[in-house]
């Protein structure tokens, strides 16, 4: 068993990663995760990444070895869906206390494993390492090994304490754990020439099920999905698949590549976001399976299915074209999605005014240029403030992004749609893309925006008043300016204005505050000073004013 540091180094040296491949030797040694700058808002840590990647395994107990923060603050917050067991949604944590930190947490971990097995009897237990037990030297590999032997049940250590790096690194560390301890440990009940693995697909909002019917129709069996709606025995026997698809994210490239290396399972990287992408992915699956010996009629059947589905999808998007005419969309997401949904949005008639390329590779950028032309607005980095200004300035009619920038758009009263992992709608495959267009339309055409952008009536009034009192208007309309001058309240308590007081002073030739008080309603208390000022001011001006 290699150390954690060695594993991290191996992950950084991933030959399958395009971004890594284009780096110089020196850059590569630095690793692919940029250290987060202190003082910034945080993305997830490595533990978070590992948990995201593995938690969708439904019949496994996920035990977090750490203080309450790691699990207590984060559990049950993902939109993955299960077709069977809901054990994965139960949170287990050792909730380390101060005493555990002083005396070590290994015994507590071992007891916790036993408690889970006694009460829940899961297929397997995944034990997640976190920062503090890593610091105090709890050896979870050893505990898991002992527990597996004692309880005759797979107890898998997932060694990814948060402080080793980013969420993405955690995804990969989770993959390494699967490769080391799970994949290839069981045999499937039966195999077919149509068995595939989906790697890096999490079945968020059940989106896997938007694509699965198509695969079912073709007779393609998902032997294992890592990890959406996954089951332990499926991933343990996933080494018997004929081909694999690395879905969208690069989070688990190490799993796909090493399975190719170890078990000869060819893989391709594809996406089910977007119409053409879905078609391309189905084609690739068929091609790889046929190459591995599946009957060749699969190719023809796939093409027929693609033709039917595409015709349906384009047809379903068609009615939105006139509605979307001239509307501008801003796409703030990473990697493959920066171009994979572009085609569908363009087809629906939306104009893309920008797409972020922060997490995209060189090929991703090429694809964007292909789709959006060479003057495509590729945004490398945009601060929330810039984003807000851009939206407030109506340079885009809708923003599609992840949850983090949600409130930037909404507070600028601009339509926004979640297309990252926290979304509550499923957008995969042909039905998913039509659903996305539908959602965009719902958002864009809502009558709410117009009401929200209109200033409150009193604000409009206040603005008009301000204009009235400005010197420019005084020149333009002296009568109006004089009126507003005379309307100034002198006595606030009894609401007596300047005009009334001036008239009284002129008409009765008043000289003192007391006299003014006698002739008007002014109290002369707190406004004494103001009345005095009027009395000593230029009498000619006063007379003029009175006339």
């Amino acid at each position: 068993m290699s150390s954690l540091a060695a594993t991290v180094q191996i992950i950084f040296d991933e030959p399958g990663c395009a971004k890594n491949g284009s780096k110089s030797e020196a850059e590569r040694r630095n690793g692919c995760t940029k250290q987060l700058q202190p003082g910034s808002a945080a993305g997830g840590c490595a533990f978070d990444g590992a948990k995201v990647a593995l938690q969708p395994f439904t019949d496994v107990a996920h035990l977090v070895h750490g203080p309450i923060a790691c699990e207590g603050n984060s559990w049950d917050n993902r939109g993955a869906v299960s077709s069977g067991s809901d054990l994965w949604r139960t949170a287990f944590t050792t909730d380390l206390s101060e005493t555990d930190i002083v005396f070590g947490g290994e015994k507590r971990l071992c007891k916790a494993i036993k408690e889970i097995i006694d009460k829940y009897d899961p297929c397997a237990i995944f034990v997640y390492q976190t920062c503090i037990p890593a610091m105090i030297g709890d050896d979870i590999n050893a505990v898991c090994k002992a527990a597996s032997r004692r309880f005759l049940k797979p107890v898998i250590p997932i060694n990814s304490p948060g402080f080793v790096g980013s969420k993405n690194l955690g995804n990969k560390l989770a993959g390494e754990a699967l490769l080391d301890y799970v994949i290839g440990t069981r045999e499937p009940d039966y195999t077919t020439p149509y068995d595939i693995n989906l790697i890096g697909e999490y079945n968020l909002s059940g989106e896997l099920w938007q694509v699965k019917p198509l695969l079912d129709e073709l007779g393609v069996r998902i032997l294992c999905c890592i990890s959406g709606d996954g089951k332990y025995r499926e991933v343990a026997s996933s080494h018997r698949a004929r081909a694999a698809m690395l879905v969208c994210s690069k989070s688990m490239i190490n799993v796909a590549r090493k399975m190719e290396q170890r078990y000869g399972i060819p893989f391709f990287e594809g996406s089910f976001y977007g119409i053409q992408d879905s078609s391309e992915s189905l084609r690739q699956i068929a091609r790889l399976l046929v190459e591995r010996g599946a009957p060749t009629d699969l190719l023809g059947r796939t093409e027929a299915l693609i033709a039917r589905e595409e015709a349906w999808a384009w047809g379903a998007i068609e009615p939105y074209k006139p509605r979307f005419g001239g509307k501008k969309a801003l796409l703030m997401t990473g990697g493959v999605k920066s171009w994979s949904v572009v085609a569908a949005l363009q087809e629906a008639g939306l104009e893309l005014v920008g797409t972020s390329v922060k997490k995209s590779t060189k090929e991703d950028k090429e694809r964007i240029k292909e789709l959006m032309g060479h003057d495509a607005n590729m945004i490398e980095n945009m601060t929330p403030r810039e984003m807000y200004e851009m939206l407030k300035g109506a340079k885009a009619d809708i923003m599609l992004s992840g949850g983090k920038s949600q409130f930037v758009a909404l507070k600028a009263a601009v339509p926004w749609l979640d297309i990252n992992q926290e979304r509550c709608h499923a957008y995969m495959g042909y039905v998913g893309m039509v659903k996305l267009v539908e959602e965009i339309d719902k958002s864009l055409s809502s009558p709410m925006w117009e009401q929200l952008r209109r200033p409150a009536p009193w604000e409009a009034l206040a603005k008009a008043m301000e204009q009235m009192q400005s010197p420019a208007t005084a020149l333009a309309d002296p009568a109006l300016a004089e009126k507003s001058r005379r309307a100034r309240k002198i006595c606030i308590c009894n609401r007596v204005d300047l005009g009334t007081i001036e008239d009284a002073i002129y008409a009765h030739r008043l000289r003192s505050v007391e006299a003014v008080r006698e002739h008007t309603n002014a109290v002369g208390g707190c406004c004494q000073r103001r009345i005095n000022e009027i009395l000593v001011s230029e009498p000619s001006a006063m007379r003029q004013a009175a006339e």
């Binding site: 923060a69 984060s74 949170a91 304490p161 980013s166 930037v408 009263a413």
Partner: protein, 469 residues
């Protein structure tokens, strides 16, 4: 009255508890132009951030010192220094609130000393208040973090007595516990103002997380109590602390400025609000406004209407100590039996809860006991949704986080009006649940020869409920 027990199991299942640092950071979110900073690994901040965003549906300022494996070994001084300088430069906050985490507490970072060093090295920070509070993850819970942070804010930011500054009896300090929502604070503000008092809330989440649309984009909090206003809190005539957790901050305030305080442990329920109103009337010298006499009467009427449905119910409740005392107390006053009570952390109030046993435990304890004792009403935060689905009982969401319903920030429970709302909501849940799941059939009572299972003094109310329904 209640016996407090702590289960000896090694594995917490479905935690009720959340960690101290985010409770501390939450307190800083009620300060104007503030930037809370967690000194720890990036995940500590990221999880907390997600939790707040899901609860409030608002952008939430929260930053990290981004401790890595290496900096954890070497000590966090440089990360803290960089973080403060970066925040100072980019976000231009009026205050930075720093909470430690498990990582930095385990390796023993001396943050107070670090801050002194940082201040001496960077004179530009001289006028920027930096408030540090020690909140290790492996001790206490969310409420403790809040308690410590507020006490610390008072200690650092409130000015001591000053001869030239006169006390203003119409000014009142309000120290709200973390179980109050922005909506509760707004309600309290109106009540106090109706008595002619001008309140300063510390922290004031109603200014920052009440879900309004700010005119400008700001990376820091978009409202809350100003640092200047906090400094002047020593001029107030009284301090009102809400929830036992705020006693500590109120004591610090009194020790520092001499402002007397009174703790109101509960503000949900008829009698607690009678006490509160009487107190306000005394300190303001004004009679209880007509409005509140009317509201009291409305609450009494609501209690009459709702006791048929709430009375006799067997309640399973999981909440932080002060919220537990408040809600279980109110329901117990209505005739509900507090059958299972689970809380997160030690507190002086939990042994006074009107039940036999209070468990410092998790939601699995709550669920198992609720099942065993046939509870028919569940109250806890949103994480209780799975238990509620399995138990098939009416489920009222209360506390933090509430992420699967909208309007968590405006859920009202204080005052006569707030209590009335809570009572109606819970009663309606019970009614809806009965309509959907418990319609009478010709055979319903045929096999029902078994005596009512509820032990104790309130079995008669079950019969009442049936006859009314």
């Amino acid at each position: 009255m209640a016996i407090v027990t702590t289960p000896t199991k090694a594995c917490a299942v479905n935690p009720l508890k959340m960690s101290q640092p985010i409770g501390g950071a939450f307190a800083f979110m009620g300060l104007g132009g503030a930037m809370p900073l967690l000194h720890g690994s990036q995940g500590c901040t990221s999880f907390g951030l997600t939790l707040f965003v899901r609860h409030f549906k608002e952008a939430v300022p929260l930053r990290t010192t981004a401790m890595s494996e290496v900096t954890t070994v070497l000590g966090g001084y440089e990360n803290l220094e960089q973080a403060i300088l970066n925040i100072y430069k980019r976000a231009k906050p009026k205050i930075i609130g720093i909470c430690s985490t498990g990582v930095t507490e385990t390796n023993g970072d001396d943050v107070d000393a670090y801050l002194k060093l940082i201040r001496s090295k960077h004179p530009q920070l001289a006028k920027l208040p930096l408030v540090y509070v020690s909140t290790p993850d492996f001790k206490g819970a969310f409420q403790d973090g809040w308690e410590k942070a507020v006490a610390r804010i008072v200690e650092v930011l409130v000015d001591g007595p000053n001869a030239s500054r006169l006390r203003d009896p119409s000014r009142v300090n309000v120290l709200p516990g973390c179980h109050l929502t922005p909506g509760d604070l707004d309600e309290l503000r109106v009540i106090l103002e109706d008595f002619g008092l001008s309140p300063s809330f510390l922290p004031d989440l109603a200014g920052s997380l009440d879900g309004h649309i700010p005119d400008e984009f700001t990376p820091t909090t978009v409202g809350g109590i100003d640092v200047g206003e906090i400094a002047n809190m020593g001029r107030a005539g009284w301090t009102i602390a809400i929830g036992a957790q705020m006693r500590r901050a109120a004591e610090v305030m009194q020790a520092k400025t001499g402002v007397p305080f009174r703790v109101f442990e509960r503000l949900c329920g008829l009698c607690p609000n009678d006490e509160f109103m009487t107190f306000l009337s005394e300190i303001s010298g004004r009679p209880i406004p007509l409005k509140y006499r009317r509201q009291r009467s409305q609450l009494a009427d609501a209690m009459l209407d709702a006791h048929f449905h709430i009375g006799g119910r067997k309640l399973a409740i999981g909440a932080e100590p002060d919220l537990l005392l408040d809600l279980s107390g109110m329901l117990s006053d209505m005739g509900t039996q507090v059958t299972v009570a689970v809380t997160t952390t030690q507190s002086e109030v939990i042994e006074r809860i009107k039940t036999n046993e209070v468990i410092i435990g998790d939601l699995a304890d709550l669920e198992d006991l609720a099942k065993e004792r046939h509870c028919d009403l569940l109250i806890t935060h949103s994480h209780g949704r799975q238990a509620a689905a399995r138990l098939k009982v009416p489920f009222y969401r209360a506390g933090f986080p509430i992420f699967d319903r909208l309007g968590a920030g405006h859920q009202l429970s204080v005052g006569y009006r707030g209590t009335r709302n809570v009572i109606f909501e819970i009663a309606n849940l019970v009614i809806a649940h009965r309509d959907e799941n418990d319609q009478p059939t010709p055979d319903k009572w045929r096999t029902g020869r078994v005596l009512p299972r509820c032990a104790g003094h309130r079995s008669s109310t079950v019969a009442t409920e049936r006859s009314v329904a």
